[in-house]
Amino acid sequence: MEHIVIIGNGISGITAARHIRKLSDKKITIISAETEHFFSRTALMYIYMGHMKYEHTKPYEDWFWKKNRIDLKFGFVKTIDTATNTLHFDNSETLQYDKLIVSTGSKSNKFGWKGQDLDGVIGLYSKQDLDQLEALAPNKEVCQRAVVVGGGLIGIELTEMLHTRNIPVTLLVREDNFWDGVLPLGDAQMINRHIKNHGIDLRLKSNLKEISADENGRANAVIIEETSETISCNLVGLTAGVTPNIDMIKTTGIETDSGVLVNRYLETNIEHIYAIGDCAQQREPIGNRKPVEAVWYTGRMMGETVAQTICGNRIPYNPGHWFNSAKFFDIEYQTYGWVFAKPKEGHAHFHWKHDDDTKSITIEYHESSNEFLGINTFGIRMKHEVFDRWLTEKRTADYVMEHLKEANFDPEFYKTFERNILNSYSKQFITT
């Protein structure tokens, strides 16, 4: 029986295993050095916030794996001998595979800051990171101030987490506005204000210069590049993005760049070895997508795809229209299609914001043809299926604005804003 070994038990590796099981009787082993069972990484924040316990973040009960004949192995792979199809563990155990899926995920970015490896400096990606955070910042007496470095999705999550334990937080954002490499100005500025409204010390245009230590080698302050200001703190969160977790892969014959290089079939340069999820890097970017996509949904989609290939139906990874979502404190965010921070050449943006400063949308469309290209929606839930269809049908922005009601996904009885949005969209063309 063919033995499929998967390194990493995150969403991509687990999805691959589940689909291989659905399609075949192959022997499947999943290896992890993080946790014994699959858990939802995106839910880590809720454990610290007290919304859930660790066991609630496990999408499948523990009996699921045995019942589906998916072997789980807790261990750390030290190296891969690609000539003999052998994995070597750090405790000198070995494991033979016939096909290998690398889905080792990401690790937190560190940009060579002075003090970045001190005690009291953490990232937020793994279960271990969370355990460390719990130890370092159980409450506001132990952790009197935290500094979070990085204005992106993980940075704001960590900020919100600490805030729920009443720990004062300074959030350092390198850019002019929160996540403005991705969000258009109107959206980004609304989130700026929302962050500040929660009492967060938001510092825009602020780079980390260095982290200083006390006599015990523990971080006790950060120094800001622009102002040379020193902010004393007990915890530093480095959340300036993630990078593929492939140090071990680099010691093997598998070709890597910033991630494990794969073709559209998610195959590496070595036969029978595949890479999926955060750690994979497309040799040729697909459409507007980045070559490395560290997103829950793309990890899942790659898992669904690679399972087909491994089970004899070789198909390329062919993601559909881009979508994503997040939550910034109390404001939910969804995006469908492409909305860039600044409209691409020949494109235009339409931005609408509610007076309460917690709801807004931005759409991007083609200026000459009026083709709808994408939407950001904040504080209003919208239907994935409807936007996916409109993007496929290449609807115009006018059409989308007129039919926006069909896409509404807010709970029943909620106030709707489609008319308001359409009015303001129409007005824009009268004045210009």
Binding site: I11, K22, S40, T42, A43, Y46, M49, G50, H51, M52, K53, H56, T57, K58, P59, E61, P138, N139, K140, E141, T164, R165, N166, I167, N197, H198, W296, Y297, R300, M301, E304, T305, Q308, I315, P316, N318, P319, G320, H321, F323, S325, A326, K327, F329, D330, E332, Q334, R381, M382, K383, H384, E385, D388, F409, D410, P411, E412, F413, Y414, K415
Partner: protein, 524 residues
């Protein structure tokens, strides 16, 4: 390290004041329980109820209005009372003891014997009872008052907690209205209308058989019939409720129209019970237990009611058309029609469960035939029907719905009764699963499997298991409270009434991936 507790569980100064005021209000009742005879009962009862209410309002205002609108689950699992800690167990024990005394030792609360006056706690409530119904209080009046107060004050708290969510606000106004009006005030006023010559059963009109398992008992039916047009109208309303009104509403809106908008048990669970909703067991094992237990209760209540009605009907068709045998044949016919329709039209959806349904059906039919052949006038199968009824009342009506159902809120969650025991919920759920427009829609491929929906589902449904497959949630137990949709951080879930077509839609490959692959894999 373990000594360093998360800070968010601490109460603020204002919250402590709120708790203190509420506890003083409760203390007045405790004193009454220990037979302190207050001189002016009206004053002390008012004082007690006002302080309990005021304390809750002060607490809630400070807990929620000082923060931004949004989901308020911070520190839920760090709070002793909400995570089966010390205070959770204390509360559970106190509530359980309260129910045991209420059901089995009401004289300890001061219930008067014949010809005597109430004492203790029940006497404290006499002034209010005289005001409403014109008679002295009973243990049920005390219980009804406290129950209603709990729904109102914790409903207020819930509304503040979910003040950003209009669906939750409206739903809570609804349960508060139905409790205060239908469950509490109207029955008291109905009681006032009764006299020596006119005796109409006064009760919560929205309490429908089989939840109201005694609705068709002989004494009640006699009273209904002897109370003229209004009595007959109520009897017909009682029958129409379960056979006509309920099916129509459940078809249109799912069982939520009852369970989380109207029902008193649901009302308490959604308000006072809300802080315990995450304690429900989500394991597949619990689901199996749930299905066996709740459906056994349905079989039990159906047979019990049939036996009770059978026992008081006559044999002589010349006196009254509805005789023992006509009744049995009627019940059997109705069940056969329902069973046949389900098997013909919904067999596919039921799959393996169809076998269990068939077993349940045949058990009932055989018992009905047995009743015909082996029963005397007062007993069925040599078992006294009143014994059958009192066992049901004891096991299901008292122990299950009261002692376990509410007493164990802090241990098993707030919907134990609704999930495992309520025959009404099971009947509505059966219909919701098969003949209803209601479902929880999943939003394409947006689920991140975080687990908030499953954790906060009071019915113990593993919502995430469906959401992460892009599958709509169509579960018989879902009471449609809407909290899964509220706590979802990615806007994945929505409660809706839509067409029956494509209501159940499991997907192996989710929206967002290769369209051809989705077609290939999802085609069933």
């Amino acid at each position: 390290m373990s000594l360093a507790k998360p800070d968010s569980q601490a109460l603020s100064k204002t919250q402590k004041i709120g708790v203190a005021i509420g506890v003083i209000g409760l203390f007045i009742m405790t004193l009454a329980f220990f037979n302190v005879n207050f001189p002016n009962k009206t004053l002390f009862l008012t004082l007690s109820l006002v302080m309990i209410t005021l304390g809750t309002i002060i607490f809630s205002n400070n807990a929620y209005l000082t923060k931004h609108e949004g989901i308020k689950n911070d520190g839920v699992w760090f709070k002793s009372i909400a995570s089966r800690g010390f205070w959770g167990w204390i509360l559970g024990i106190v509530l359980t003891l309260f129910y045991i005394v209420l059901y089995f030792k009401a004289e300890w609360f001061g219930l008067a014997g014949k010809g005597e006056a109430n004492t203790g706690l029940i006497a404290l409530f006499d002034p209010l009872s005289y005001l409403l119904s014109g008679g002295p209080a009973s243990q049920w009046f005390v219980y009804g008052t406290l129950y209603t107060v709990a729904i109102l004050i914790f409903g207020y708290k819930f509304i503040l907690k979910y003040r950003h969510n209009k669906h939750e606000r409206i739903r809570t106004y609804s349960v508060m209205f139905f409790q205060l009006g239908f469950a509490f005030l109207i029955p008291e006023f109905m009681a006032r209308m009764n006299s020596d010559s006119f005796h109409l059963p006064y009760y919560d009109l929205k309490n429908i058989w089989p939840l109201n398992y005694y609705n068709f008992d002989q004494y009640r039916v006699n009273d209904f019939i002897s109370s003229g047009t209004i009595g007959l109208a109520l009897l017909i309303f009682g029958i129409a409720s379960i056979f006509i009104i309920t099916p129509i509403l459940t078809y249109k809106y799912g069982k939520r129209w009852y369970c989380s908008w109207v029902c008193g048990c649901g009302g308490l669970a959604e308000t006072a019970g809300d802080p315990f909703r995450h304690l429900s067991d989500k394991s597949q094992f619990a689901w199996k237990v749930e299905r066996w237990v709740v459906h056994s209760v349905v079989v039990f209540v159906t047979l019990m009611t049939t036996a009770v009605i059978y026992s008081y009907l006559g044999d002589d068709s010349s006196k009254y058309w509805l005789t023992k045998n006509v009744f049995l044949i009627g019940v059997a016919t109705l069940l056969t029609v329902v069973f046949a329709l389900v098997m013909i039209f919904k067999r596919q959806e039921l799959a393996k469960d169809a076998q269990y349904g068939a077993i349940g059906y045949f058990v009932i039919i055989i018992v009905l035939i047995g009743m015909h052949y082996f029963s005397g006038t007062k007993n069925v199968f040599l078992v006294d029907t009143s014994f059958l009824k009192s066992s049901y009342g004891f096991l299901i009506g008292a122990i299950f719905s009261g002692v376990i159902g509410v007493g164990f809120y802090p241990i098993f969650g707030n919907r134990v009764w609704c999930r495992f025991g309520c025959p009404m919920a099971a009947v509505l759920g059966f219909q919701q699963r098969l003949f209803s427009k209601f479902r929880i829609t999943t939003n394409g491929g947006q689920c991140i499997s975080c687990g908030n929906c499953s954790t906060y589902c009071e019915m113990g449904i593993d919502v995430r298991a469906y959401a992460q497959k892009g599958e709509n949630i169509v579960r018989s137990s879902c009471v449609g409270c809407g909290i899964c949709a509220a706590v979802c951080p990615r806007g994945v879930l929505k409660l809706e009434n839509d067409s029956m077509k494509g209501r159940i839609n499991s997907n192996d490959i989710l929206l967002g991936n290769d369209v051809n692959l989705m077609d290939l894999v999802n085609q069933k």
